[in-house]
Amino acid sequence: MNATSPTQALLLATILFTIGMLGVLARRNLLLMLMSIEIMLNAAALAFIAAGARWHAAQGQVMFLMILSLAAAEAAVGLAIILRLHAAGRPTLDADTGNRLKG
């Protein structure tokens, strides 16, 4: 394995996180928002891997596995909510129209 410095990996993680966050903030399509959240989770996981490699600790990879399973669960829940919304008769995936809890 090429000794990529942890700094570079962290930089990549930061870029990925920012992309994901911008996706969540800017996209209105619920599916794309979910995908952006996945990117953010993966960015965080990458940061754990980098840290684990830097200190030769196994916990980094343990955390990665946990985040992987969390992401799967999150995707399942998120997709189920979207399907429920669809079944309840919402014709659109636009997140901004779901604002009935407005104060």
């Binding site: 966050m21 969540v24 903030l25 209105r28 928002m33 901004d96 779901g98 009935r100 104060g103």
Partner: protein, 616 residues
């Protein structure tokens, strides 16, 4: 055994009231009535047993005592919940349970298809229980419990049909006006308690009889009189009684004719040594009685509503009782209380039977010619009217009114003349009502029949209204003095009787009144329109006491309230509420409901937190 029966007589209707209120209207009408009337009937039965025992073998001290428990015991003052049965409460007990039972029976016939019948019977039985507490109490503080209890039941029952705002207004008026008197009564009780250190009635009366009256005793007597005046609807606190007719007719018969309104008379008779030791209070009682008697009789002469005629007549008759109390003729007042309970309950119940059959109309000018359609009710009403007018020899009202007239003659011939004028007016107004309702052309076709549960009490009370007076007769007719002998341990020997021509005057004046009524309202030349001149209008409005109180008290009070509506205290609390509301609205604007914006806020917050954390 007898002392055990005493609390049971009270407990019986009290338990029934609890049961009826707990059923919350889920019980069908018949069991409701069986519990309501049955419990009062049971206490009437026990009361009759107790009375026979009492009369056959009088208890050693002339009274039965049953101490229930000690209420409070502090330094210099203690009070017990205790019941006493002496001749006065014996008479009252028989009236309350006996007449109460007959009215409960009648009420089933009157109310059986009303959806609120459980509430009705609950309040009625609770009333009987409270009235019995009032009558039995040997301590003024527990008497006050009964006094307030009957007041609240009166309020609940006047406003029984509470979907009509007029009924609710009448109930509130009755409650507030009697409350003024209750407050005076409570002040009087506190004054007596501080003066004597006890509210036990025998102890108080002992002090009143032995110690000369000082200022506090005089004030207390006047305050107690205030309470009695409000409860018994006497001038100047009489305005609630005519409006109280908004309640169902059995309520008017039980509460506003036979029992509760006579509580004031009972209170004064119970505390008579205290009043007798304050001559000014006695004079006030006399004057209040005479004024009420004449004013109310004048109002009754021109009323068009059958129940209001009877309401004013009740005020007038209680005026007679007050007159007798003020003249010191205690036995006469109690005698008239008893006979009045018979004949006025009878009149109210007969009026209720008529109202039920002429489609709930109460205007006497819309009735007419009903004698042939309902002969039974006519005979009952005739018996009641004759007793109220005091037609000689035959009726109960004659003997009791005669006794009051004698008492008034002994106090002052002027009082006697006033009372005689009242008797004349009484005969005129009640026979005016009778002639207009039962004779002449028929204006409303009656329907249905008067049921057995209503007819039976009417018959019983008609017999009582005619024969109930035979327990006490003037010597000139027959030397029968059952009631005054019974009451003499309390009140002392009755007054000696006046000359025989008094008796003649007392018998002829009511007959003359009936004659005048016949001349004015007999079927042929019956004037079918109520009199409309200024004086008649004034009298019909109850001499405009309502307007006077509106101008003097209610309007200034309401204006003051409106002026003070936004004072500094209100502003303070209003400002707090306004600040909270504005802040909430501002924060609420952040909750746009859009997930993306929330995510943005979270991101911004995280960035700010990181920046703050990264700063060394």
């Amino acid at each position: 055994m007898d002392a055990l029966l005493l609390p049971l007589i009270v407990a019986c209707p009290l338990l029934a009231a609890g049961l009826l209120f707990m059923s919350a209207g889920r019980m069908p009408p018949l069991p409701t009535c069986v519990i309501g009337a049955g419990s009062v009937g049971l206490s009437a039965l026990m009361a009759a047993m107790l009375a026979t025992g009492f009369l056959r073998t009088p208890p050693p001290a002339g009274a039965l005592h049953a101490t229930l428990w000690s209420w409070m015991q502090v330094e210099g003052f203690n009070t017990r919940i205790a019941f006493t049965l002496d001749p006065l409460s014996l008479v009252m007990m028989l009236v309350v349970t006996g007449v109460g039972f007959l009215i409960q029976l009648y009420a089933y016939g009157y109310m059986h298809d009303d959806p609120g019948i459980a509430r009705f019977f609950g309040c009625m039985t609770l009333f009987v229980a409270a009235m019995l507490v009032l009558v039995f109490s040997s301590d003024l503080l527990s008497l006050y419990i009964g006094w307030e209890g009957v007041g609240i039941c009166s309020y609940l029952l006047i406003g029984f049909w509470h979907t009509d705002t007029a009924n609710v207004a009448a109930a509130r008026k009755a409650f507030i006006v009697t409350r003024i008197g209750d407050a005076a009564l409570l002040c009087g009780l506190l004054l007596l308690a501080t003066r004597a250190g006890t509210l036990d009635i025998p102890a108080l009366l002992h002090i009143a009889a032995t110690r000369p009256a000082d200022l506090s005793a005089e004030t207390a007597a006047f305050l107690l009189l205030g309470g009695a005046v409000a409860k018994s609807a006497q001038v100047p606190l009489q305005t609630w009684l005519p409006d109280a007719m908004a309640g169902p007719t059995p309520v008017s018969a039980l509460i506003h004719a036979a029992t509760m309104v006579t509580a004031g008379v009972y209170l004064i008779a119970r505390l008579h040594p205290l009043f007798a030791s304050v001559p000014a209070a006695m004079t006030a009682v006399t004057i209040i009685g005479l004024v009420t008697l004449l004013l109310a009789a004048g109002s009754a002469l021109v009323q068009t509503d059958i129940k209001r005629i009877l309401a004013y007549s009740t005020m007038s008759q209680i005026g007679y009782m007050f007159l007798a109390l003020g003249a010191g003729a205690w036995q006469a007042a109690i005698f008239h209380l008893v006979t009045h309970a018979f004949f006025k309950a009878l009149l109210f119940m007969a009026a209720g039977a008529i109202i039920l059959r002429v489609h709930h109309r109460q205007d006497i000018y819309q009735m007419g010619g009903l004698a042939r359609a309902m002969p039974g009710v006519f005979v009952a009403f005739l018996a009641g009217a004759a007793a109220l007018a005091g037609l000689p020899l035959l009726t109960a009202g004659f003997y009791s009114k005669e006794m009051i007239l004698q008492g008034a003659w002994h106090a002052a011939p002027l009082l006697w003349a006033g009372a005689l004028l009242g008797a004349f007016a009484t005969a005129i107004y009640i026979f005016r009502c009778l002639f207009i309702v039962f004779f002449g052309t028929r204006h409303t076709e009656p329907h249905g029949r008067t049921g057995a549960t209503m007819a039976m009490p009417l018959a019983c009370l008609a017999v009582l209204a005619l024969t109930g007076g035979w327990m006490e007769m003037p010597d000139a007719i027959a030397p029968v003095h059952l009631l005054s002998h019974l009451l003499s341990p309390l009140f002392g020997a009755p007054m000696p009787e006046g000359p025989t021509w008094l008796l003649w005057a007392g018998s002829l004046v009511p007959l003359a009144g009936v004659g005048v009524a016949w001349l004015l309202w007999r079927p042929r030349i019956q004037t079918r329109a109520p009199p409309e001149d200024a004086l008649a209008r004034l009298a019909r409005a109850g001499w405009d006491f309502d307007t006077l109180y509106d101008v003097l008290i209610i309007h200034p009070f309401v204006t003051l309230g409106r002026l003070n509506q936004t004072d500094i205290c209100d502003r303070l609390s209003n400002a707090t509420a306004a600040t909270a509301r504005a802040g909430g609205r501002m924060l609420g604007r952040m909750q746009s409901g859009q997930v993306r914006r929330y995510a943005g806020w979270i991101a911004a917050g995280t960035v700010v937190a990181l920046c703050l954390g990264a700063r060394p």
